[in-house]
């Protein structure tokens, strides 16, 4: 039903972004109903997620954070098992023990998700180190984090170690202008995290995070360079969190003008319009895609809802290996 993880055709990227949007809106609906409280959606940031994840190879590893649905779905995660996890069901990727905030899926190469802001940054060098010490392991490590995570000291510790030890890490900072209920402008003297990253002496770029093609191109270029040199690189996707920090959130603290301006640059519409102009998309085709993703999400919701909760005996398992 979904495109395979590594089909980079524009239509495939579009369908994946639409799948993520539909998934997140479904989650928001569930949360509005009182379930899955505290879920953080990535609405508005789909291009930043899809553009990078689709630039990665099968053998690469991904570390992500609390706002991970886009990364997971772009990587080919089953929306049913994701929703099941969000609802704390036994069939979720983490048996319901994680819930929405730290979903890992080792089978997809999405490892060690932490909802501690900066957690993924502290773990990524070790994942990359293991790869450099494993003969024949060519994979790189992509770690996703926000502008807020860059304010944690461990961001700098992580970049410095990756540079000094030459670790193959693609640092992907999703700068969505928000750090929970605080605007990025209140927490940093400059507009871009890139300035901090560059001081560590690694390649550091920014890209329009709402333009999936631009993100995909930049991420592909940097990923290739990391494979070639074995050294880390930093990519900042400039985007915006158009829903609240978590569900539900009335966004009363958000400047309506800023929000409207970014909504006008919706990444899905940007790509759809471009494809329309290019003649590769028309209303019928778009409707077909929308129908497919909605059907996929309906199916996922049905699966998640029908899934059982874990046995109470699960409370004390998976603590020690």
């Amino acid at each position: 039903m979904q495109p395979t993880p590594h089909d980079p055709s524009p239509l495939a990227l579009l369908e994946t972004m639409m799948l993520i949007r539909a998934y997140e809106e479904a989650v928001a609906g569930i949360a509005a109903g009182g379930s899955a409280p505290g879920t953080c959606t990535s609405v508005g940031q789909e291009a930043a997620a899809v553009g990078v994840v689709r630039a990665l190879a099968h053998e690469d590893r991904i570390l992500t954070n609390h706002r991970s649905a886009g990364h997971l779905l772009a990587r080919g995660a089953d929306p049913g098992r994701l929703l099941a996890e969000v609802l704390g069901k036994r069939t979720g990727y983490c048996k319901g023990k994680s819930g929405s905030l730290h979903i890992s899926a080792a089978e997809l190469g999405v490892v060690l998700t932490s909802t501690i802001v900066g957690g993924e940054l502290s773990l990524a060098p070790g994942v990359a180190l293991a790869r450099t010490m494993t003969p024949g392991d060519e994979g790189i490590v992509a770690t996703f984090f926000g502008d807020g995570a860059a304010c944690e000291g461990v961001f700098h510790e992580s970049l410095n170690l990756a540079v000094v030890w030459k670790l193959p890490i693609l640092y992907v900072c999703e700068n969505n202008e928000w750090q929970a209920f605080v605007h990025r402008r209140e927490t940093m003297p400059m507009a871009h995290v890139r300035d901090w990253a560059a001081s560590h002496g690694l390649i550091a770029e920014t890209v329009d995070g709402n333009d999936v093609a631009a993100v995909h191109a930049a991420a592909s270029r940097l990923a290739a360079r990391i494979r070639e040199t074995g050294e880390p690189a930093f990519l900042e996707t400039l985007t915006y969190r158009t829903r609240g920090h978590y569900e539900p959130d009335d966004q009363a603290y958000v400047d309506p003008g800023e929000l409207a301006a970014w909504r006008a640059r919706d990444p899905i519409e940007l790509l759809a319009n471009r494809l329309r102009l290019a003649g590769t998309l028309d209303d019928l085709r778009l409707a077909q895609i929308r129908a497919r993703v909605l059907a996929a999400i309906d199916e996922a919701a049905a699966f998640a809802n029908a899934s059982p909760y874990p046995e109470l005996s699960e409370l004390v398992t998976d603590v020690y290996a």
């Binding site: 023990k97 909802t115 109470l312 603590v319």
Partner: protein, 323 residues
Amino acid sequence: MSVITVNEAITQALAEEMRRDPSVLMFGEGVATKRANLVAEFGAARVRNTPLAEGIIAGTAAGAAASGLRPIVDLLFAPFLCFAMDEIVNSAGKLRYLSGGQFKFPMVVLAMTGAGWTVGAQHNHNLEAWFVHSPGLKVVMPSSAADFKGLLKAAIRDDNPVLFFMDLALGYQAGEVPEGEHLVPLGHAATLREGRDVTLVSYAKTALHCVAAADALAQQGISAEVLDLRSLKPLDEAAILASVRKTGRVLVVHEASRLCGVGAEVAALVAEHAFAALKAPVRRLTGPDVPAPSSWPLEQAFVPQAEGIAAAGRALVEQREYA
């Protein structure tokens, strides 16, 4: 008396103390956003948002406290304290001593914890015992709106670093709070129920579960006393010992894990200093030694509930072994 929620009690305590003492200020991630009322009354200099960095938030509080201010910092959820341990434990807790008493650290660290929001172990970890174990700190964890207000006000006035833990399940719980100035001194437990047969010692939300258990036990003809510790450091050892000397039996209950928890301290204290009065083994009923799960039924199973407490209390009184 007026009836307000725990969250309202916290807001009242903050506003009253900031009104009373211009050296009180508050900062943290989203503090200014979420406490617009305080910004409006006290201004942006005294109510601040911060960058997302718990270490520097706590360190700045310690530095400010040693320099004449009385900072309150909101570190949001207890597991995030893991990024501020050096500043809290090595600096605020030790630099008075290591300097031979040259500095004091009047500061309050706020953090939420506890089951109820199904957000898992990186938001929900009851680690109050860490700070009880650490020198130079005080630790508070109330269960009622009145105590949240009175203890927070007392914590803000205390000249030492106070960790103020908020059991998140209690935020919207309403309770009677005395009108006007209401202070609850640190270091004093509260007897929520008088009883003769067994003492249930607890704190935070499980103290309320103990009250429910006491009601259930009363139905069965067992008279349980319920002690709410409220302050975990200083610990009201006298109140604990007095109650156990009266009832001869003690069951310590908390959501935090068992090993080296506050329950271990209370049990050891009793076995050491009320041994002669004990008619039965000391018992603990705690959360399991596992990270807090997200899944709702697992999260509920994580927390000692009234039924389990009542059953354990009854077994204790009946001198039965109880798993």
